[in-house]
């Protein structure tokens, strides 16, 4: 009975995702009709559709999926519903690495940017993990505290560096976030990452669910705690780092989407991870659409949009729904 | 036996969920009353409503005849001291300092510890037999000792009534008995009215003068342990069966087993 319900839910979400993809592709400063695909009105239109819009849409969808999944995973392993990759230092690390790379004169090709962001993210995260381990094992509170502080620290350095090198213009761009420059190379890399992340999450879904219990229970159930933690961390860093490399500084999706889904439909990691991933994609697509199309001839900053929309929804949920989420 | 704490036509619960349904309850003065019942019977709700932490949906709770809502927080604390189920233990605090918090309701202005306060604190620490540990940090003590320190804090309030919500549930056996014996002692020496929520029926039967048995939001039985712990109650309320032995007038359950489920 429950199995059936899950299938229906997932089916609906997949349909919604498909719809969102279509909408985001067709929408923008200029809206196209769906017939564009098989009866193009002009060569320019086809070019825009295939070279500009579709990669952008795919990038947005994949980043949304990655951020939401990574966020849920982080919340599960840190036992704290407030955990978002952006407050654990991952985003800040990736940002700083990108700024540093640019200052060092590195050409920011797609591949370079990817690697830089990943390295930055990983280094930052490792520092934070190191800070949060204590004798008794992994301490979620210290993770968040250390992550928040370290994150702020890195952001301050980024900002200071921008100030001192008179580079605040560049800083603005990174701050704004967005997918306007997305190309197929980036999409390709994102697809790879998504396969790895989503695949691993699927493979290890039971284990990750059990990681959400306290340490002793997890070990008592026969799980290799260190190995799983390592895998989870690698996946989170991979997901968040690649998202920053392509989309810039997009926060809040990692904490907002899982929370919203859990409020409406509470469940374990295993039960909710795919709906959350799909919702992440849908959310990002709509945010991207709004940033493109809401105000004519101006592109609204995506990071701001996702924060505003996501924040309002979450706030309403928290304020008015009776059930508490743990 | 005059009533010190009583509830009339009490209905209580959360939001739309009614947990206690139109019940009359009275707590006898100077005795140890145990609240027993299966999970979900409304024990904790009753506890919270009786001490005024939660407001009932309808009905009144009175303390010495006056509705409890009419007491200010301080006045109420001077009459009723209560210890919730899992009190947070702050760190970096000694036993003496924790117990001094209990004097809050008796102090005015800058809450400087007066002679009376100090005496009350020291007496309370002595009553729980922790004088040698008075300057130790709470976090360095065992679970039982921490619980005793918390009880000392409630004693320092100098109230007539002491309410404890499952004080023994997370303690080991030695500590459990330690606490229960202590409560008996306090009742005998200081005539304190004690209301205690307990899970263990044998403990409840042995240490309480009266029992109030709750099930599904209403009072199934009240009275002496020997009158409440009967085969009928065991079957009806707790869905168990066993042999009830009478040890000096105190019922103890042996060979407890669940009843076969009706097919």
């Amino acid at each position: 009975m429950i199995f059936h319900k899950k299938r229906v839910l997932t089916g609906c979400l997949l349909l919604a995702l498909g719809f969102a993809v279509l909408l985001d592709t067709l929408g923008g400063p200029k809206w196209y009709g769906i017939s564009e695909f098989w009866r193009p009105t002009s060569k320019l239109a086809t070019q825009i559709l295939w070279d500009v819009r579709i990669p952008r849409v795919l990038a947005a969808m994949l980043v949304g999926i990655l951020l939401a999944t990574g966020g849920l995973l982080l919340q599960t392993i840190s036992h704290n519903p407030l955990a978002d990759p952006s407050i654990i230092g991952v985003n800040a690390g990736a940002n700083l690495a990108l700024i540093a790379g640019e200052l060092a004169g590195l050409a920011l090709t797609v591949l370079n940017a990817f690697w830089l962001a990943l390295i930055g993210a990983l280094l930052a995260f490792l520092v934070v993990i190191g800070l949060s381990l204590n004798k008794k094992g992994f301490s979620p509170l210290r993770l968040l505290l250390g992550g928040t502080i370290f994150s702020g620290f890195l952001s301050s350095i980024s900002m200071a560096v921008s100030f001192m090198t008179n580079n605040t213009q560049q800083f603005r761009v990174i701050l704004a976030g967005g997918f306007s420059g997305a190309n197929y190379e980036q999409v390709g890399l994102l697809v790879l990452v998504a396969i790895v992340v989503v695949g691993s999450v699927f493979f290890f879904r039971t284990e990750f669910t059990l990681l959400g219990l306290d340490h002793q229970t997890t070990v008592g159930l026969g799980l290799s705690f260190k190995k799983l933690m390592g895998i989870a961390i690698a996946l989170i860093v991979l997901a968040a780092g690649s998202s920053v490399a392509v989309g810039g500084n997009i926060g809040f999706v990692g904490v907002g989407v899982p929370q919203m889904v859990n409020f409406v439909h509470p469940g374990s990691f295993k039960a909710n991870v795919f709906p959350i991933a799909l919702c992440g994609g849908i959310f990002m697509l709509f945010a991207d659409l709004i940033s493109k199309a809401a105000v004519s001839s101006v592109e609204l900053p995506l990071s701001a949009l996702s924060a505003i929309v996501g924040g309002i929804v979450l706030f309403i949920l928290v304020a008015f729904k009776k059930k508490v989420v743990k | 036996m005059t009533d010190s704490l009583a509830a009339k036509d009490l209905t209580a619960g959360y939001g739309h969920k009614v947990v206690i349904d139109h019940q009359d309850i009275s707590i006898a003065q100077g005795q140890i009353t145990g609240l027993i019942g299966p999970n979900g019977s409304g024990k904790s709700t009753l506890f919270n409503v009786l001490n005024g932490f939660e407001s009932p949906i309808s009905g009144t709770v009175t303390l010495s005849g006056k509705p409890i809502s009419r007491f200010s927080a301080r006045q109420r604390a001077q009459q009723i001291a209560c210890l919730p189920q899992r009190t947070v233990i702050p760190d970096g605090i000694t036993v003496f300092e924790l117990v001094s918090y209990g004097r809050y309701c008796r102090q005015r202005g800058f809450h400087h510890l007066s002679q009376t306060d100090r005496k009350a604190i020291n007496d309370a620490i002595q009553a729980v037999h922790m004088t040698s540990k008075a300057d130790e940090l709470l976090t360095s003590l065992s679970g039982g000792q921490q619980q005793r320190a918390l009880i000392a804090m409630t004693l320092a309030q100098d109230s007539r009534i002491l309410m404890l919500d499952e004080p023994t549930t997370y303690l080991d056996l030695t500590n459990q008995l330690e606490i229960l014996n202590l409560l008996q002692e306090l009742n005998a020496k200081f005539r304190k009215t004690i209301i205690i929520v307990l899970h263990d029926l044998n403990e409840a039967a042995r240490y309480c003068h009266r029992l109030v048995c709750l099930v599904d939001g209403h009072v199934k039985a009240t009275g002496r342990p020997i009158d409440v712990i009967t085969k009928a109650i065991l079957a009806d309320v707790f869905k168990v069966d066993g042999d009830i032995l009478h040890d000096h007038g105190c019922p103890q359950i042996m060979n407890c087993h669940t009843l076969a489920m009706p097919s």
Binding site: F153, F163, A176, A304, L305, I308 | P90, G92, Y104
Partner: protein, 333 residues
């Protein structure tokens, strides 16, 4: 006895650091002053015109601003952490700082668009309205709710407000953007003495109020049910304390812009030093808050030659090492 001695020693060391930093901020800078002369000048005993001028006209306002901001943020953070039973709470996580900042950014944006130059008193008002609005929204969640809900609501609120701020920021031209960025990162943008004096009196008033409520705060460290048990009027005390925390944070933002971390760090560090008894924790947090700000002020003005960095940037840089040290030493235990 050893514990008592340890506490007294800690306190004395902190006071010494406090005084040391005070003297450092006043003595160092573009013009280096003799420390002894500075001390004399503070007591009105100096005849040296340069010293007196530099100390009182140039540097004292900045010092006063640091003390006000640091102290108020620390106290606000402490209260919020006790009320929400969560050591991650502070006024910036709860969205209060963001609200005040948004007020100011909107005012700046509007004035730039209209071409008006705003008087600082209007910006003040904007900050106050912003701060109160966001805290009002937070109150909607209700204080009876669990701590985690309040924090979640704060996170959501901060995200929304920061998002709006970002949008407005990016709409501005580069020049204004830089100005706002500086402000948002914490800087003492108004060092006029009348302004600071009002803030000082306001701050002192609030702190006196908190001191009066220390016994209630002590009770609240037992959890809300434990506090109720000993006779604290949890609802009323909670509301008053929340109000004080909000006013403290707003006051700090008015003086120092959007500085985060002090409210988070100072009480946490203080707790590790002196434990959770509010009677010791309050003054320790206050001292630490001031020290952090003064140190940041010192570094911001002196470390990079002619460029003065926004003090808020320095705050996080300054708090990081000590925090890492604390976390590491706890690990080894």
């Amino acid at each position: 006895m050893t514990r008592r001695i340890r506490l007294v020693l800690t306190f004395m060391i902190l006071c010494t650091i406090w005084i040391g930093l005070l003297l450092a901020v006043l003595s160092f800078g573009d013009i280096k002053l003799n420390v002894v002369e500075v001390m004399k000048s503070l007591f009105g005993l100096s005849r040296d015109f340069t010293t007196n001028f530099v100390v009182w006209q140039l540097r004292f306002p900045g010092l006063l601003a640091s003390i006000i901001t640091g102290g108020e943020l620390a106290v606000s953070g402490l209260i919020l952490q006790i009320l929400t039973h969560n050591s991650l709470a502070d006024s910036s996580i709860l969205g209060i700082n963001a609200g005040a900042s948004l007020g100011v950014v909107i005012a700046m944006f509007v004035s730039a668009a209209v071409g008006l130059h705003l008087m600082s008193s209007w910006l003040l008002l904007a900050a106050l309205i912003g701060g109160l609005t966001s805290s009002g929204l937070l109150m909607l969640v209700g204080r009876q709710q669990s701590a985690i809900k309040i924090l979640l609501a704060g996170v959501a609120l901060t995200a929304v407000l920061n998002g709006i701020i970002l949008m407005l920021e990016l709409e501005m031209n580069q020049f204004d953007f830089d100005k706002v960025l500086v402000w948002l990162n914490g800087s003492f943008w108004n060092l006029g003495m009348p302004f600071l004096t009002i803030q000082l009196l306001f701050g002192i008033g609030l702190i006196i109020l908190v001191i009066l409520m220390v016994p209630a705060l002590n009770g609240l460290t037992l959890g809300s049910r434990g506090a109720y048990g000993i006779g604290v009027n949890v609802k009323m005390a909670g509301n008053v304390l929340m109000g004080v925390a909000i006013l403290c944070a707003t006051g700090a933002v008015l003086v120092g812009g959007a500085i985060s971390f002090v409210g988070l760090m100072a009480p946490n560090i203080a707790r590790k030093l002196v434990g959770q008894r509010v009677t010791y924790l309050l003054p320790t947090s206050w001292l630490l808050g001031c020290c952090i700000m003064m140190l940041a002020q010192f570094v911001a003005t002196n470390a990079f030659g002619k460029t003065a960095l926004p003090v808020g940037l320095v705050v996080s840089a300054v708090t990081m090492p000590y925090f890492i040290y604390l976390l590491f030493s706890e690990r080894v235990d």
